[in-house]
Symmetry: C2
Subunit: 348 residues, 2 copies
């Protein structure tokens, strides 16, 4: 366990100055402050109380808190499981609440006794993630991935299975395939859209922007989405829905509209847990294991902290997979086809 003395030596200042920086005293030059905080992160320093050895990893929401979603609760479940293999405990922090505007993230985390942070991010959260990474505080990002020179990411790559999903629909005979994605663009959703476009292009089908929807990741959006799609002039015969609650909401709403899935509409959903097994009909879905992601994030961060500062953690990319169930089938025989020249054809 490094002490304030080692940090002082490492930064070339007195222990008093280190203490001042940690406690965010105003009487420190910006230059020295930066030098000391850098030394803090290089040494992996945390305030010590006697021989008390407990330290914490923090789950930090970069953006509004939403611990209640099945995805987020699966993440936490995985983290708690990973906890058992370490001597670290999990604390839930809300920087929105009590990070003082004039303190850095490193100072904030030190104040809390935290040795590393799991950043649950979306696009809105990226600035916070970047700032924490710039301070070189130990961190790992979950739920989003983007280009960054030092930040490690934990995510499941959904590109390939997303493409397989669309190809599955194409093979069944579908040509008008809608795509429903999150209102917020994060790395994962971008991947899925890329895969969707690619699969269509490979079959010489142009992406029809009127079939691309962005909706909030909640069940009622799924219900609304279905009504919107089906009341359009040229409804699709299939849809790829990239958020679990939206897919579930859509499938459930179909019964209120006296539609039969997959007879009237094929649905490929997304599942990060087990929702696909609890809708009727069982949902064909691109699947990832959110519990595993939470586990990997905690375990990976713990490992990199044990290994000491400076050791780079790589990304932890697991795989998604396509599971074909009963919500996909051939398009309705009376389906409307639109030829390249715009001619509408009723087939069947």
């Amino acid at each position: 366990m490094p002490t304030i003395r080692q940090v002082a030596e490492c930064a070339g200042v007195s222990i008093a100055t280190v203490s001042r920086v940690i406690n965010n005293s105003s009487a420190v030059t910006d230059e020295i402050r930066e030098k000391v905080l850098d030394a803090v992160n290089r040494c992996g320093y945390v305030p010590n109380v006697g021989r008390r050895t407990t330290s914490f990893l923090a789950l930090v929401y970069a953006g509004p808190f939403s611990l209640g979603s099945p995805y987020d609760s699966a993440l936490v479940e995985g983290m708690v499981q990973a906890m058992d293999g370490t001597d670290l405990d999990l604390v839930i922090l809300n920087p929105m609440r009590d990070k003082r505007p004039d303190e850095t993230y490193t100072q904030f985390f030190l104040r809390k006794g935290v040795r590393g942070v799991i950043l649950r991010s979306t696009v809105e959260g990226r600035p916070m993630c970047r700032q924490i990474a710039d301070e070189k505080f130990p961190a790992i990002v979950l739920g989003d991935h983007f280009e960054h020179p030092t930040l490690p990411f934990v995510y499941a790559d959904s590109t390939d299975p997303s493409r397989q999903a669309v190809e599955h629909l194409l093979t069944l005979g579908h040509r008008r395939i809608a795509f429903a994605s999150n209102e917020f663009e994060d790395g994962d959703h971008v991947d899925r859209f890329t895969a969707y476009s690619k699969a269509l292009e490979d079959h010489d089908i142009e992406v029809d922007r009127s079939l691309v929807y962005h909706v909030p990741a909640r069940k009622p959006s799924g219900a609304q989405l279905l009504r919107t799609m089906m009341s359009s002039t040229h409804p699709p015969t299939a849809v790829f829905v990239t958020d679990p609650p939206v897919a579930v909401g859509l499938i459930n709403e179909s019964r209120n509209m006296d539609m039969e899935i997959p007879h009237d509409l094929s649905v490929v959903g997304f599942d990060d847990r087990d929702a696909r097994n609890y809708v009727y009909p069982l949902m064909t879905a691109v699947c990832q294991d959110a519990r595993q992601l939470g586990y990997d994030a905690f375990a990976g961060l713990a490992r990199s902290i044990d290994a000491g500062a400076g050791s780079k953690t790589g990304d932890c990319v697991s795989t998604c997979w396509l599971e074909i169930n009963n919500s996909t089938g051939q398009p309705p025989v009376e389906s409307l086809r639109i030829l390249p020249d715009g001619t509408r054809l009723m087939v069947g």
Copy 2:
């Protein structure tokens, strides 16, 4: 913030002895150890590091961890929300993992820097809850309630609405009403069974033990339960299912069996969140708000800690309510009735 000095004075020993007790040194008399730990809890002592003021409330699972269930994740969501109103952070602790067998719970929690614990309990967890209460460490119990002189409980009373639920079924004309409860008996489930029995007795119907089921609170149990019930010699015409996942699993399975709810079977479920709105048909259910329970537990414990040791927190009892939706209706006209003397009657 009380220091080790105050605790020493309070217990009538030296600060060295207090420190030894906190760090569980073997060189302390049992008698003095107890006296000191008592003083620790009376003073509300937590180890202090300089002017660092952070302190933690811990979520502790008395029993195997299961943070992933909708109920538990709603609890955590509520706690995180309550966090915002305080200067306390939430840490998740697993005593199974690293409580040393020779240390008391108070010692364990002090070592972690924890000022109070939210005990998520079931019947199995009661001994741990009782022990923590005996040590007088600040605690509040969630998810179970039982007789105890000092422990405060947070729960929603489901007795009245459970009775209304059964009466609702009786009014619709049902006479063979099954009851499905958790495999583990906790205070909440006992309440619901009592209400069920009472409602039947009030209508001069004897409780038929062959209609009372105990199953694990998971969706597959609901599917299995439905098959078991419907393949019995005298299937019920209605069922009151007191666990949300079981109710959902049962309703979903009905479609695989070509049954129609409520035409073939009326179902009153239980909901602690929003599941009732996402099954088809919309589920009639006794409802409680698990998010609110988590919120109340955190806020209540925080308040009682602020108020200082010795101040007794009362139980926080919120109310459940019955919500009538589309999964209940009149019994099938061809339903079998059994008269008091045992005669079977096909009605309709």
